[in-house]
Symmetry: C2
Subunit: 124 residues, 2 copies
């Protein structure tokens, strides 16, 4: 399955990249200057995730947020970073702070999802 280059993909990638933050599906649909079907947006985002272009965060509101991978150099597991969701401006930012933990014997981690919720510097 070779990927094809389409205007919709470009538009979503541009939006995510210029926002610099993680956006939920509805924020993307809202901000984008194009009429893209909901299902298509999800499919594009999921494909980006598969290809490692974008990563996915699930916040306390139960929604998925998507952000362009800035410094995910393939080994995204052990050095995952914290995310910060601001309830005022409704965005999620990737923090520089790495998530650090040690597990009891026998546990195997496949993915890490750490979201701090509150108000960001701009909003407080």
């Amino acid at each position: 399955m070779k990927r094809r280059n389409t205007p919709t993909k470009q538009a979503i990638l541009n939006l995510l990249s210029q926002s610099g933050k993680a956006m939920s599906h509805d924020a993307i649909e809202d901000k984008i200057d194009m009429d893209i079907n909901r299902a298509t947006i999800y499919r594009i985002l999921n494909r980006f995730c598969e290809d490692g272009l974008v990563h996915n965060i699930v916040a306390e509101d139960g929604k998925q947020y998507f952000a362009i991978c800035m410094d995910c150099d393939g080994k995204s597991l052990p050095d995952s970073h914290f995310h910060f969701r601001c309830t005022s401006c409704q965005t999620i930012a990737c923090l520089k702070e790495k998530v650090d933990f040690s597990l009891p014997m026998g546990y195997k981690v496949e993915s890490v999802n750490c979201v701090l919720t509150g108000t960001c510097a701009d909003c407080s």
Copy 2:
């Protein structure tokens, strides 16, 4: 609004307490030996959360999981612990490990949600 003691509340509390882990709504509905309406289960769980009896974790699957607060001594904010979701046995356990982080200036945290996903010691 004074709380009342009902069989349904007791049953849910017993189930959560004997399971010792965090359970999702559907797991509760599945395991409980009583026919309780979906909305009622949610309302009971939400009330437990309000009263500080139970805490709420949102996992990567976007679902809410509820667990009895073991050592949440009121100040649940700064010393939040990690949670571990096992994709094999479908449970979430509270780990002893505390979440440790420092924030950039101006950020204010209201809640912490850290879930590690993988396979637990029993399943691997």
